[in-house]
Protein backbone atom coordinates (compact mmCIF):
# COMPACT_ATOMS: atom_id res chain seq x y z
CA UNK A 1 0.00 0.00 0.00
CA UNK A 2 2.83 2.38 0.83
CA UNK A 3 4.00 2.53 -2.72
CA UNK A 4 5.41 5.49 -4.52
CA UNK A 5 1.99 6.38 -5.90
CA UNK A 6 0.61 6.77 -2.40
CA UNK A 7 3.55 8.87 -1.25
CA UNK A 8 3.25 11.00 -4.36
CA UNK A 9 -0.45 11.45 -3.70
CA UNK A 10 0.20 12.55 -0.09
CA UNK A 11 2.88 14.98 -1.24
CA UNK A 12 0.53 16.41 -3.86
CA UNK A 13 -2.33 16.79 -1.37
CA UNK A 14 0.02 18.44 1.14
CA UNK A 15 0.87 20.89 -1.61
CA UNK A 16 -2.84 21.49 -2.27
CA UNK A 17 -3.50 22.08 1.42
CA UNK A 18 -0.68 24.61 1.54
CA UNK A 19 -1.97 26.26 -1.64
CA UNK A 20 -5.50 26.60 -0.24
CA UNK A 21 -4.27 27.82 3.12
CA UNK A 22 -1.80 30.39 1.84
CA UNK A 23 -3.95 31.81 -0.95
CA UNK A 24 -7.02 31.99 1.33
CA UNK A 25 -5.01 33.68 4.08
CA UNK A 26 -3.65 36.28 1.67
CA UNK A 27 -7.07 36.99 0.18
CA UNK A 28 -8.65 37.04 3.64
CA UNK A 29 -6.07 39.63 4.70
CA UNK A 30 -6.87 41.71 1.64
CA UNK A 31 -10.42 41.94 3.00
CA UNK A 32 -9.83 41.55 6.74
CA UNK A 33 -6.94 43.96 7.21
CA UNK A 34 -8.80 47.05 5.93
CA UNK A 35 -11.85 45.92 7.91
CA UNK A 36 -9.79 45.68 11.08
CA UNK A 37 -8.24 49.09 10.45
CA UNK A 38 -11.68 50.60 9.79
CA UNK A 39 -13.03 49.05 13.00
CA UNK A 40 -10.25 50.75 14.95
CA UNK A 41 -10.47 54.19 13.38
CA UNK A 42 -14.27 54.43 13.29
CA UNK A 43 -14.67 53.27 16.91
CA UNK A 44 -16.00 55.77 19.41
CA UNK A 45 -12.57 56.85 20.65
CA UNK A 46 -10.88 56.19 17.32
CA UNK A 47 -9.17 58.61 14.94
CA UNK A 48 -12.31 59.24 12.88
CA UNK A 49 -15.29 58.10 14.93
CA UNK A 50 -18.19 57.02 12.75
CA UNK A 51 -20.92 55.14 14.57
CA UNK A 52 -22.70 53.96 11.40
CA UNK A 53 -19.65 52.46 9.68
CA UNK A 54 -18.46 50.92 12.92
CA UNK A 55 -21.81 49.33 13.73
CA UNK A 56 -22.24 47.86 10.23
CA UNK A 57 -18.75 46.34 10.25
CA UNK A 58 -19.19 45.10 13.77
CA UNK A 59 -22.46 43.33 12.93
CA UNK A 60 -21.14 41.84 9.66
CA UNK A 61 -18.07 40.48 11.43
CA UNK A 62 -20.12 39.01 14.25
CA UNK A 63 -22.72 37.43 11.96
CA UNK A 64 -20.19 35.78 9.64
CA UNK A 65 -18.11 34.61 12.56
CA UNK A 66 -21.06 32.94 14.24
CA UNK A 67 -21.95 30.79 11.22
CA UNK A 68 -20.19 27.41 11.54
CA UNK A 69 -17.70 26.95 8.73
CA UNK A 70 -19.29 23.82 7.29
CA UNK A 71 -22.62 25.61 6.98
CA UNK A 72 -21.02 28.70 5.48
CA UNK A 73 -19.31 26.42 2.98
CA UNK A 74 -22.67 25.17 1.76
CA UNK A 75 -24.41 28.54 1.98
CA UNK A 76 -21.75 29.98 -0.28
CA UNK A 77 -21.99 27.29 -2.99
CA UNK A 78 -23.91 29.50 -5.45
CA UNK A 79 -21.48 32.34 -4.89
CA UNK A 80 -18.47 30.03 -5.25
CA UNK A 81 -19.90 28.67 -8.49
CA UNK A 82 -20.34 32.22 -9.71
CA UNK A 83 -16.75 33.20 -8.88
CA UNK A 84 -14.78 30.04 -9.75
CA UNK A 85 -17.19 28.27 -12.10
CA UNK A 86 -17.49 25.13 -9.96
CA UNK A 87 -18.17 24.34 -6.32
CA UNK A 88 -15.67 21.56 -5.62
CA UNK A 89 -11.91 21.24 -5.70
CA UNK A 90 -9.12 23.21 -4.07
CA UNK A 91 -9.59 26.49 -5.91
CA UNK A 92 -13.32 26.50 -5.20
CA UNK A 93 -12.59 25.93 -1.51
CA UNK A 94 -10.58 29.14 -1.41
CA UNK A 95 -13.77 31.20 -1.76
CA UNK A 96 -15.54 30.04 1.43
CA UNK A 97 -12.22 29.83 3.27
CA UNK A 98 -11.53 33.48 2.48
CA UNK A 99 -15.06 34.52 3.43
CA UNK A 100 -14.92 32.68 6.72
CA UNK A 101 -11.43 33.89 7.60
CA UNK A 102 -11.79 37.57 6.68
CA UNK A 103 -13.96 38.62 9.66
CA UNK A 104 -11.83 36.52 11.98
CA UNK A 105 -8.77 38.32 10.66
CA UNK A 106 -10.53 41.68 11.01
CA UNK A 107 -10.93 40.95 14.73
CA UNK A 108 -7.30 39.81 15.05
CA UNK A 109 -6.10 43.00 13.34
CA UNK A 110 -8.43 45.12 15.46
CA UNK A 111 -7.12 43.70 18.71
CA UNK A 112 -3.50 44.05 17.57
CA UNK A 113 -3.98 47.71 16.63
CA UNK A 114 -5.80 48.47 19.87
CA UNK A 115 -2.70 47.31 21.75
CA UNK A 116 -0.77 50.29 20.38
CA UNK A 117 -0.23 52.87 23.10
CA UNK A 118 -2.79 55.71 22.85
CA UNK A 119 -0.04 58.10 23.87
CA UNK A 120 2.07 57.32 20.81
CA UNK A 121 -0.92 57.98 18.57
CA UNK A 122 -1.50 61.25 20.41
CA UNK A 123 2.15 62.18 19.94
CA UNK A 124 1.81 61.61 16.19
CA UNK A 125 -1.34 63.76 16.14
CA UNK A 126 0.49 66.50 18.01
CA UNK A 127 3.11 66.47 15.24
CA UNK A 128 0.42 67.11 12.68
CA UNK A 129 0.19 63.58 11.29
CA UNK A 130 -2.95 62.77 9.30
CA UNK A 131 -5.04 59.63 9.68
CA UNK A 132 -3.26 57.82 6.83
CA UNK A 133 0.19 58.46 8.28
CA UNK A 134 -0.95 57.38 11.73
CA UNK A 135 -2.47 54.14 10.42
CA UNK A 136 0.52 53.28 8.28
CA UNK A 137 3.49 54.53 10.26
CA UNK A 138 2.22 54.30 13.81
CA UNK A 139 -0.55 51.70 14.18
CA UNK A 140 0.63 49.07 11.69
CA UNK A 141 4.34 49.55 12.38
CA UNK A 142 4.07 49.60 16.16
CA UNK A 143 1.70 46.61 16.15
CA UNK A 144 3.72 44.59 13.65
CA UNK A 145 4.83 41.87 16.09
CA UNK A 146 1.30 41.39 17.29
CA UNK A 147 0.06 41.39 13.68
CA UNK A 148 2.53 38.63 12.75
CA UNK A 149 1.45 36.59 15.76
CA UNK A 150 -2.14 37.13 14.63
CA UNK A 151 -1.28 36.04 11.07
CA UNK A 152 0.26 32.86 12.45
CA UNK A 153 -2.91 32.12 14.37
CA UNK A 154 -4.94 32.86 11.24
CA UNK A 155 -2.82 30.47 9.15
CA UNK A 156 -3.29 27.67 11.66
CA UNK A 157 -7.05 28.23 11.82
CA UNK A 158 -7.43 28.41 8.04
CA UNK A 159 -5.37 25.24 7.67
CA UNK A 160 -7.85 23.57 10.01
CA UNK A 161 -10.80 24.92 8.03
CA UNK A 162 -9.25 23.70 4.78
CA UNK A 163 -9.14 20.18 6.19
CA UNK A 164 -12.81 20.48 7.06
CA UNK A 165 -13.53 21.48 3.48
CA UNK A 166 -12.33 18.01 2.56
CA UNK A 167 -15.71 16.76 3.76
CA UNK A 168 -17.38 18.30 0.74
CA UNK A 169 -14.77 17.48 -1.85
CA UNK A 170 -12.48 20.36 -1.16
CA UNK A 171 -9.25 18.51 -1.87
CA UNK A 172 -6.10 18.54 0.20
CA UNK A 173 -5.07 16.52 3.25
CA UNK A 174 -8.49 16.75 4.90
CA UNK A 175 -10.00 15.18 1.81
CA UNK A 176 -7.46 12.33 1.97
CA UNK A 177 -8.17 11.74 5.65
CA UNK A 178 -11.90 11.49 5.00
CA UNK A 179 -11.76 9.43 1.81
CA UNK A 180 -9.12 6.90 2.91
CA UNK A 181 -9.23 7.04 6.65
CA UNK A 182 -12.96 7.41 7.21
CA UNK A 183 -14.72 5.88 4.25
CA UNK A 184 -12.21 3.03 3.67
CA UNK A 185 -11.17 2.46 7.29
CA UNK A 186 -7.47 2.92 6.43
CA UNK A 187 -6.45 4.14 9.85
CA UNK A 188 -2.73 4.31 8.98
CA UNK A 189 -3.36 6.81 6.16
CA UNK A 190 -5.57 8.84 8.45
CA UNK A 191 -2.72 8.88 11.01
CA UNK A 192 -0.20 9.96 8.41
CA UNK A 193 -2.40 12.83 7.18
CA UNK A 194 -3.01 13.97 10.74
CA UNK A 195 0.73 13.85 11.39
CA UNK A 196 1.34 15.88 8.22
CA UNK A 197 -1.21 18.48 9.32
CA UNK A 198 0.44 18.71 12.73
CA UNK A 199 3.86 19.13 11.15
CA UNK A 200 2.53 21.87 8.83
CA UNK A 201 1.02 23.81 11.74
CA UNK A 202 4.23 23.42 13.73
CA UNK A 203 6.35 24.74 10.88
CA UNK A 204 4.04 27.70 10.29
CA UNK A 205 3.99 28.46 14.00
CA UNK A 206 7.76 28.24 14.22
CA UNK A 207 8.26 30.59 11.27
CA UNK A 208 5.67 33.05 12.61
CA UNK A 209 7.17 33.16 16.09
CA UNK A 210 10.67 33.61 14.71
CA UNK A 211 9.69 36.49 12.46
CA UNK A 212 7.72 38.26 15.16
CA UNK A 213 10.56 37.90 17.67
CA UNK A 214 13.06 39.17 15.16
CA UNK A 215 10.91 42.20 14.39
CA UNK A 216 10.22 43.16 17.98
CA UNK A 217 12.46 45.97 19.18
CA UNK A 218 10.72 46.46 22.49
CA UNK A 219 12.90 43.89 24.21
CA UNK A 220 16.24 45.14 25.45
CA UNK A 221 19.50 43.52 24.43
Amino acid sequence: MWDSAMILMLAKETGITLYMTLVSTILAYVIGLPMGILLVITAKDGLKPNAVVYKILDVVVNVVRSIPFLILLMLLIPFTRFVVGKSYGATATIVPLTMAAAPFIARLVESSLLEVDRGVVEAAQSMGAGTGTIVWKVLLMEARTSLIVGATIALGTILGYSAMAGAVGGGGLGDVAIRYGYHRYQVDIMAVTVALLIILVQILQWIGTRISKKMDKRITG
Partner: protein
Protein backbone atom coordinates in the same frame (compact mmCIF):
# COMPACT_ATOMS: atom_id res chain seq x y z
CA UNK B 1 5.70 91.68 24.23
CA UNK B 2 4.24 89.73 21.38
CA UNK B 3 1.38 87.45 22.29
CA UNK B 4 2.05 83.86 21.29
CA UNK B 5 -0.91 81.98 22.69
CA UNK B 6 -4.20 83.47 23.70
CA UNK B 7 -6.74 81.31 25.46
CA UNK B 8 -10.18 82.89 25.27
CA UNK B 9 -13.03 81.79 27.54
CA UNK B 10 -12.17 78.16 27.04
CA UNK B 11 -14.53 75.64 28.60
CA UNK B 12 -14.45 71.91 28.09
CA UNK B 13 -17.18 69.55 29.16
CA UNK B 14 -16.91 65.80 28.83
CA UNK B 15 -20.25 64.13 28.46
CA UNK B 16 -20.20 60.62 29.88
CA UNK B 17 -22.88 57.99 30.15
CA UNK B 18 -23.74 58.72 33.76
CA UNK B 19 -22.32 62.13 34.42
CA UNK B 20 -20.86 65.14 32.67
CA UNK B 21 -17.54 66.51 33.80
CA UNK B 22 -16.69 70.16 33.49
CA UNK B 23 -12.94 69.86 33.04
CA UNK B 24 -12.37 73.54 32.21
CA UNK B 25 -14.51 76.52 33.07
CA UNK B 26 -13.99 79.80 31.27
CA UNK B 27 -10.21 79.89 31.13
CA UNK B 28 -8.48 83.04 29.90
CA UNK B 29 -4.73 83.10 29.47
CA UNK B 30 -2.14 85.04 27.57
CA UNK B 31 1.30 83.62 26.90
CA UNK B 32 3.98 85.76 25.30
CA UNK B 33 6.88 84.87 23.04
CA UNK B 34 9.89 83.48 24.84
CA UNK B 35 8.17 82.88 28.14
CA UNK B 36 8.41 79.66 30.10
CA UNK B 37 4.87 79.46 31.30
CA UNK B 38 3.97 77.02 34.06
CA UNK B 39 0.46 75.74 34.47
CA UNK B 40 0.22 74.11 37.84
CA UNK B 41 -2.56 72.35 39.67
CA UNK B 42 -3.41 69.29 41.67
CA UNK B 43 -4.20 66.14 39.71
CA UNK B 44 -7.66 66.33 38.21
CA UNK B 45 -7.58 70.13 38.13
CA UNK B 46 -7.89 70.11 34.34
CA UNK B 47 -4.37 71.10 33.39
CA UNK B 48 -3.81 68.22 30.97
CA UNK B 49 -7.06 69.07 29.20
CA UNK B 50 -5.99 72.70 29.04
CA UNK B 51 -2.65 71.93 27.42
CA UNK B 52 -4.41 69.70 24.86
CA UNK B 53 -6.62 72.63 23.99
CA UNK B 54 -3.52 74.63 23.09
CA UNK B 55 -2.90 72.43 20.04
CA UNK B 56 -6.53 71.38 19.65
CA UNK B 57 -5.91 67.73 20.45
CA UNK B 58 -8.97 68.51 22.57
CA UNK B 59 -11.40 70.89 21.01
CA UNK B 60 -12.87 73.27 23.57
CA UNK B 61 -16.62 73.02 24.08
CA UNK B 62 -16.74 76.80 24.27
CA UNK B 63 -14.24 79.56 23.57
CA UNK B 64 -11.16 79.34 21.42
CA UNK B 65 -7.39 79.41 21.31
CA UNK B 66 -5.46 81.86 19.17
CA UNK B 67 -1.88 80.95 18.31
CA UNK B 68 0.21 83.59 16.57
CA UNK B 69 -2.93 85.44 15.56
CA UNK B 70 -4.57 82.34 14.08
CA UNK B 71 -7.81 81.18 15.60
CA UNK B 72 -7.40 77.39 15.85
CA UNK B 73 -11.16 76.79 15.82
CA UNK B 74 -11.45 78.46 12.41
CA UNK B 75 -8.73 76.38 10.73
CA UNK B 76 -9.67 73.52 8.41
CA UNK B 77 -8.21 70.13 9.31
CA UNK B 78 -5.26 70.39 6.96
CA UNK B 79 -4.19 73.80 8.19
CA UNK B 80 -4.63 72.75 11.78
CA UNK B 81 -2.22 69.89 11.17
CA UNK B 82 0.23 72.28 9.57
CA UNK B 83 -0.11 74.53 12.61
CA UNK B 84 0.65 71.60 14.89
CA UNK B 85 4.06 71.17 13.30
CA UNK B 86 4.81 74.52 14.94
CA UNK B 87 3.45 73.49 18.34
CA UNK B 88 5.54 70.56 19.54
CA UNK B 89 4.65 68.50 22.55
CA UNK B 90 6.41 66.19 24.99
CA UNK B 91 4.71 63.83 27.39
CA UNK B 92 5.00 62.23 30.81
CA UNK B 93 5.46 58.78 29.30
CA UNK B 94 7.62 60.00 26.39
CA UNK B 95 5.43 58.32 23.75
CA UNK B 96 8.27 57.27 21.49
CA UNK B 97 7.75 54.78 18.68
CA UNK B 98 9.05 51.59 20.26
CA UNK B 99 9.77 49.83 16.96
CA UNK B 100 11.96 52.61 15.59
CA UNK B 101 15.52 53.53 16.45
CA UNK B 102 16.26 56.75 18.28
CA UNK B 103 17.37 58.40 15.04
CA UNK B 104 14.25 57.26 13.16
CA UNK B 105 12.06 58.52 15.98
CA UNK B 106 13.50 61.99 15.51
CA UNK B 107 13.02 61.67 11.74
CA UNK B 108 9.31 60.90 12.20
CA UNK B 109 7.98 64.49 12.42
CA UNK B 110 10.18 65.36 9.43
CA UNK B 111 8.61 62.51 7.45
CA UNK B 112 5.22 63.97 8.29
CA UNK B 113 6.16 67.32 6.78
CA UNK B 114 7.62 65.53 3.75
CA UNK B 115 11.33 66.17 4.24
CA UNK B 116 13.73 64.08 2.19
CA UNK B 117 15.14 61.11 4.04
CA UNK B 118 18.74 62.25 3.81
CA UNK B 119 18.01 65.77 5.03
CA UNK B 120 15.88 64.38 7.83
CA UNK B 121 18.70 62.15 9.02
CA UNK B 122 21.17 65.04 8.98
CA UNK B 123 18.82 67.17 11.03
CA UNK B 124 18.12 64.30 13.43
CA UNK B 125 21.83 63.80 14.03
CA UNK B 126 22.27 67.49 14.82
CA UNK B 127 19.41 67.36 17.30
CA UNK B 128 20.79 64.26 18.98
CA UNK B 129 23.97 66.16 19.55
CA UNK B 130 22.07 69.04 21.16
CA UNK B 131 20.36 66.72 23.62
CA UNK B 132 23.65 64.89 24.24
CA UNK B 133 22.71 61.45 22.95
CA UNK B 134 24.72 61.11 19.73
CA UNK B 135 26.01 57.68 20.68
CA UNK B 136 22.45 56.32 21.04
CA UNK B 137 21.36 57.01 17.44
CA UNK B 138 20.99 53.32 16.58
CA UNK B 139 19.48 52.24 19.89
CA UNK B 140 15.81 51.44 20.42
CA UNK B 141 13.76 53.27 23.06
CA UNK B 142 13.49 50.09 25.15
CA UNK B 143 17.25 50.27 25.68
CA UNK B 144 17.17 53.79 27.13
CA UNK B 145 16.58 55.15 30.62
CA UNK B 146 13.65 57.47 31.35
CA UNK B 147 15.78 60.59 31.17
CA UNK B 148 17.31 59.50 27.88
CA UNK B 149 13.86 58.77 26.43
CA UNK B 150 12.71 62.27 27.37
CA UNK B 151 15.82 63.71 25.70
CA UNK B 152 14.94 61.83 22.52
CA UNK B 153 11.37 63.12 22.80
CA UNK B 154 12.72 66.67 23.14
CA UNK B 155 14.95 66.22 20.09
CA UNK B 156 11.95 64.86 18.20
CA UNK B 157 9.85 67.83 19.30
CA UNK B 158 12.48 70.27 18.04
CA UNK B 159 12.84 68.63 14.62
CA UNK B 160 10.32 70.86 12.83
CA UNK B 161 11.72 74.06 14.40
CA UNK B 162 8.56 74.73 16.39
CA UNK B 163 7.79 78.08 17.97
CA UNK B 164 6.05 76.55 20.95
CA UNK B 165 6.88 73.53 23.08
CA UNK B 166 4.16 72.06 25.27
CA UNK B 167 5.33 69.86 28.13
CA UNK B 168 2.69 67.66 29.72
CA UNK B 169 4.07 66.49 33.09
CA UNK B 170 7.33 65.91 31.23
CA UNK B 171 9.36 65.28 34.39
CA UNK B 172 6.76 63.53 36.51
CA UNK B 173 8.04 60.05 35.69
CA UNK B 174 11.66 60.98 36.37
CA UNK B 175 13.80 61.02 39.50
CA UNK B 176 14.84 64.40 40.99
CA UNK B 177 18.35 64.45 39.48
CA UNK B 178 17.09 63.57 36.01
CA UNK B 179 14.27 66.09 36.41
CA UNK B 180 16.85 68.81 37.06
CA UNK B 181 18.86 67.90 33.98
CA UNK B 182 15.78 67.80 31.77
CA UNK B 183 14.64 71.18 33.10
CA UNK B 184 18.10 72.58 32.46
CA UNK B 185 17.88 71.30 28.88
CA UNK B 186 14.47 72.93 28.42
CA UNK B 187 15.79 76.21 29.75
CA UNK B 188 18.76 76.00 27.42
CA UNK B 189 16.43 75.41 24.47
CA UNK B 190 14.30 78.37 25.52
CA UNK B 191 17.31 80.66 25.64
CA UNK B 192 19.02 79.29 22.55
CA UNK B 193 16.08 79.15 20.17
CA UNK B 194 13.65 81.54 21.80
CA UNK B 195 10.99 78.84 21.88
CA UNK B 196 7.99 79.60 24.04
CA UNK B 197 7.56 76.77 26.52
CA UNK B 198 4.38 75.81 28.33
CA UNK B 199 4.92 73.46 31.24
CA UNK B 200 2.13 71.48 32.85
CA UNK B 201 3.04 70.14 36.25
CA UNK B 202 1.77 69.39 39.73
CA UNK B 203 5.12 70.15 41.30
CA UNK B 204 5.82 73.67 42.56
CA UNK B 205 9.54 72.83 42.43
CA UNK B 206 9.39 72.54 38.62
CA UNK B 207 7.74 75.94 38.31
CA UNK B 208 10.25 77.50 40.68
CA UNK B 209 13.15 75.96 38.83
CA UNK B 210 12.53 77.33 35.35
CA UNK B 211 9.25 79.12 34.82
CA UNK B 212 8.96 82.85 34.33
CA UNK B 213 5.19 82.92 34.64
CA UNK B 214 2.69 80.69 36.29
CA UNK B 215 -1.02 80.02 36.14
CA UNK B 216 -2.65 78.11 38.94
CA UNK B 217 -5.59 76.00 37.97
CA UNK B 218 -7.98 74.60 40.51
CA UNK B 219 -11.13 72.61 39.87
CA UNK B 220 -11.15 73.55 36.19
CA UNK B 221 -10.91 77.29 36.82
CA UNK B 222 -7.98 79.63 36.80
CA UNK B 223 -7.21 80.57 40.39
CA UNK B 224 -4.32 82.94 39.84
CA UNK B 225 -1.79 84.05 37.25
CA UNK B 226 1.34 86.15 37.39
CA UNK B 227 5.10 86.00 37.39
CA UNK B 228 6.49 83.18 39.48
CA UNK B 229 8.06 85.67 41.88
CA UNK B 230 4.79 87.49 42.43
CA UNK B 231 2.79 84.37 43.04
CA UNK B 232 5.40 82.89 45.31
CA UNK B 233 5.83 86.04 47.34
CA UNK B 234 2.15 86.99 47.53
CA UNK B 235 -0.06 84.02 46.86
CA UNK B 236 -3.60 85.34 46.86
CA UNK B 237 -5.82 82.37 46.18
CA UNK B 238 -6.26 79.38 48.44
CA UNK B 239 -5.00 77.09 45.66
CA UNK B 240 -1.81 79.15 45.29
CA UNK B 241 -1.23 79.04 49.03
CA UNK B 242 -1.63 75.29 49.08
CA UNK B 243 0.96 74.95 46.34
CA UNK B 244 3.45 77.36 47.86
CA UNK B 245 3.19 75.51 51.15
CA UNK B 246 3.24 72.13 49.40
CA UNK B 247 6.45 71.02 51.05
CA UNK B 248 6.56 73.57 53.80
CA UNK B 249 5.05 71.99 56.89
CA UNK B 250 1.48 71.84 57.96
CA UNK B 251 -0.26 75.04 57.04
CA UNK B 252 -3.45 74.06 58.85
CA UNK B 253 -1.70 73.82 62.19
CA UNK B 254 -0.43 77.36 61.93
CA UNK B 255 -3.84 78.86 61.54
CA UNK B 256 -5.11 80.95 64.39
CA UNK B 257 -1.86 81.16 66.29
CA UNK B 258 -1.16 84.71 65.16
CA UNK B 259 1.39 83.64 62.61
CA UNK B 260 3.00 85.59 59.82
CA UNK B 261 4.83 84.43 56.77
CA UNK B 262 7.86 86.37 55.54
CA UNK B 263 9.58 86.01 52.21
CA UNK B 264 13.24 86.93 51.85
CA UNK B 265 14.89 87.79 48.58
CA UNK B 266 18.59 87.59 47.93
CA UNK B 267 19.25 91.17 48.98
CA UNK B 268 17.77 90.67 52.43
CA UNK B 269 20.16 87.98 53.54
CA UNK B 270 22.93 90.30 54.65
CA UNK B 271 21.17 91.54 57.73
CA UNK B 272 20.18 89.20 60.59
CA UNK B 273 16.62 90.57 60.40
CA UNK B 274 14.81 88.29 62.82
CA UNK B 275 17.50 88.49 65.48
CA UNK B 276 17.55 92.28 65.24
CA UNK B 277 13.78 92.41 65.43
CA UNK B 278 13.74 90.31 68.59
CA UNK B 279 16.40 92.56 70.15
CA UNK B 280 14.51 95.67 69.15
CA UNK B 281 11.13 94.50 70.46
CA UNK B 282 12.57 92.62 73.41
CA UNK B 283 10.06 89.83 72.88
CA UNK B 284 10.89 86.39 71.47
CA UNK B 285 9.10 84.90 68.49
CA UNK B 286 8.54 81.27 67.67
CA UNK B 287 9.95 80.12 64.33
CA UNK B 288 7.57 77.48 62.98
CA UNK B 289 9.04 77.04 59.57
CA UNK B 290 12.00 78.19 57.54
CA UNK B 291 13.23 77.10 54.15
CA UNK B 292 14.82 78.35 50.98
CA UNK B 293 13.54 77.85 47.48
CA UNK B 294 15.34 78.41 44.26
CA UNK B 295 13.16 80.43 41.91
CA UNK B 296 14.65 80.98 38.50
CA UNK B 297 18.14 80.70 39.94
CA UNK B 298 17.50 83.25 42.72
CA UNK B 299 17.33 82.05 46.31
CA UNK B 300 14.09 82.91 48.06
CA UNK B 301 13.71 82.17 51.74
CA UNK B 302 10.44 81.86 53.54
CA UNK B 303 9.73 81.75 57.23
CA UNK B 304 6.63 81.35 59.34
CA UNK B 305 6.80 83.09 62.70
CA UNK B 306 4.42 82.93 65.62
CA UNK B 307 4.17 86.43 67.07
CA UNK B 308 3.49 87.30 70.69
CA UNK B 309 -0.16 87.54 71.82
CA UNK B 310 0.34 91.21 72.65
CA UNK B 311 -1.17 93.06 69.68
CA UNK B 312 1.01 96.16 70.04
CA UNK B 313 4.30 94.25 69.99
CA UNK B 314 3.08 92.11 67.15
CA UNK B 315 2.12 95.18 65.16
CA UNK B 316 5.50 96.69 65.84
CA UNK B 317 7.22 93.57 64.58
CA UNK B 318 5.24 93.56 61.36
CA UNK B 319 6.09 97.21 60.76
CA UNK B 320 9.73 96.44 61.51
CA UNK B 321 9.81 93.67 58.93
CA UNK B 322 7.93 95.68 56.33
CA UNK B 323 10.41 98.53 56.80
CA UNK B 324 13.11 96.10 55.79
CA UNK B 325 11.27 95.51 52.54
CA UNK B 326 10.27 91.98 53.31
CA UNK B 327 7.03 90.45 52.11
CA UNK B 328 4.89 89.97 55.20
CA UNK B 329 1.65 88.10 55.18
CA UNK B 330 -0.56 87.59 58.21
CA UNK B 331 -1.76 84.03 58.17
CA UNK B 332 -4.36 84.36 60.91
CA UNK B 333 -6.57 86.25 58.49
CA UNK B 334 -7.62 82.92 57.17
CA UNK B 335 -8.98 81.39 60.32
CA UNK B 336 -12.46 79.93 60.00
Amino acid sequence: METMIQVKDVSKTFVGKENTVEALKGINLEIHRGEIYGIIGMSGAGKSTLVRCLNFLEKPTEGTVIVEGKDLSSLPDKELRLMRTQIAMIFQHFNLLMQRTVLDNICFPLEIVGKKKKEAREKAKELLEIVGLSEKAGAYPAQLSGGQKQRVAIARALATNPKILLCDEATSALDPTTTKSILALLKDINVRYGITIVIITHEMAVVQEICTHVAIIDGGSLAETGTVEEVFARPRSAAAKRLVFQNGGNYEEMKGKHCIRIVFKENSSFEPVIANMVLECKTPVNILLADTKDIGGVAHGQMVLQLPEDKITAGKMITYLKDRRLEVEELDNYVG
